[in-house]
Symmetry: C2
Subunit: 104 residues, 2 copies
DNA sequence: TTGACATGTGACCAAATGGTCACCTAACCT
DNA sequence: AGGTTAGGTGACCATTTGGTCACATGTCAA
């Protein structure tokens, strides 16, 4: 799941699907090719990884395969390392760092 | 930044630093070695990646280097793909998928 | 049924990544 | 000064990953 997020092409696919879901492989290939040179097969492989990571949900309709973004795993990543008090602690740390290091 | 999250050892380091910050390389090495066989050098490399990804902030104190978790980039990942209406849309999609595919 | 269209699979190659080691610098403590 | 401790660097190797291609499957439409 984390590895699925680690590739720029896959993040582009997620961005595209966030904008509008229900796209076919062909449509997604067009979008990717605008940004980087890649064949249909490459896009297909990336989509399979995103599916396995449960970041993309698919729905077959005849010979077409419609892809949709699944935001739940990303929410889980967020919840793993963020709590509502963390941001305040970070601010305190930054201040401390400045105080301790700005004297050469 | 995304690649930094793609490795289990680095996620373990983030988890450890979330629990308590201000740890030295030596402390972190101990924690990692409990879970997986790795030398100090391996841990050091992973920490460097986390620093470059801005997921870990360091603070030198004498010959020690204290590591802290920086949650801001993770917050940004969350904000990139999640909006407050997305969750509801996902529920609708799941229902649709069931309706359309559960007839063989 | 015949052909065109949308997608999937397995083999294969080049490049990036994870990990270790030998060696090095710098700080603390008698 | 000398020894010990904390950490860093560059070379190197094994494995994984990104990408393509030849080929195969299944679906629509005439």
């Amino acid at each position: 799941m984390f590895k699925a997020l680690a590739d720029p092409t896959r993040r582009l696919l997620l961005d595209t699907l966030r904008e509008r879901g229900g796209r076919t492989l062909g449509e997604l290939e067009e979008v990717v090719v605008e940004h980087t040179p890649m064949t249909r097969f490459g896009v297909s492989k990336h989509l399979r990884l995103l599916e396995e990571a449960n970041l993309v949900v698919t729905l077959r309709s005849g010979r077409e395969k419609l892809h949709h973004l699944n935001p739940v795993p990303i929410q889980q990543v967020h919840d793993r390392w963020i709590d509502k008090y963390t941001e305040r602690r970070l601010t305190a740390l930054t201040t401390l760092k400045s105080q301790l290091e700005e004297k050469p």
